[in-house]
Symmetry: C2
Subunit: 94 residues, 2 copies
């Protein structure tokens, strides 16, 4: 069974604790900026391991020191607790 | 001095040998598809090392097993031999 999509209220409650993340086009969205490409790609590498471990993968864009991330749970048709968990992990690793 | 931007003729000549790459919005563009996220991110990791080694970085987007890449040389205001070199390396590594 797929993770249930969060209600607007539940999502807003989660966002309070999720520094820098916003909703854009129905996805959880954040841009991270680092001193250089090395740090930016190191961050992505750490999160690649996390993604495989929890079986949940981001949509992400990188150019030099910037990493732009969008999260959604395709099977559930929206944002779920899996996305929240991933976003929290990204904040810890940044 | 920055690498000179390639003329349309030189660029077309280079594209002949560059399997799968096209020009989109004045950038060298290609989408790669892999069996899974692990292979897709492994490909990106290899190219991250190449990018640091040659001092030239891509604009790239990844979602699960797909990696979409755009190349341009900002200092030169267009596509240069550095982008061609990077694209060739990507084809070798895919």
């Amino acid at each position: 069974m797929s993770e249930p999509k969060l209600s607007s209220q539940d999502l807003e409650a989660q966002l309070v604790d999720l520094d820098g993340w916003t909703i854009e086009a129905d996805k959880l969205h954040k841009q991270f900026k680092f001193p250089s490409f090395v740090e930016a790609f190191g961050f992505m590498s750490s999160l690649a391991l996390v993604s495989e471990a929890i079986g949940h993968h981001p949509e992400w864009f990188n150019v030099y020191n910037r990493v732009t991330i969008d999260l959604t749970t395709h099977d559930s048709g929206g944002i779920t607790l899996k996305d929240i968990e991933w976003a929290r992990k990204a904040n810890e690793l940044a």
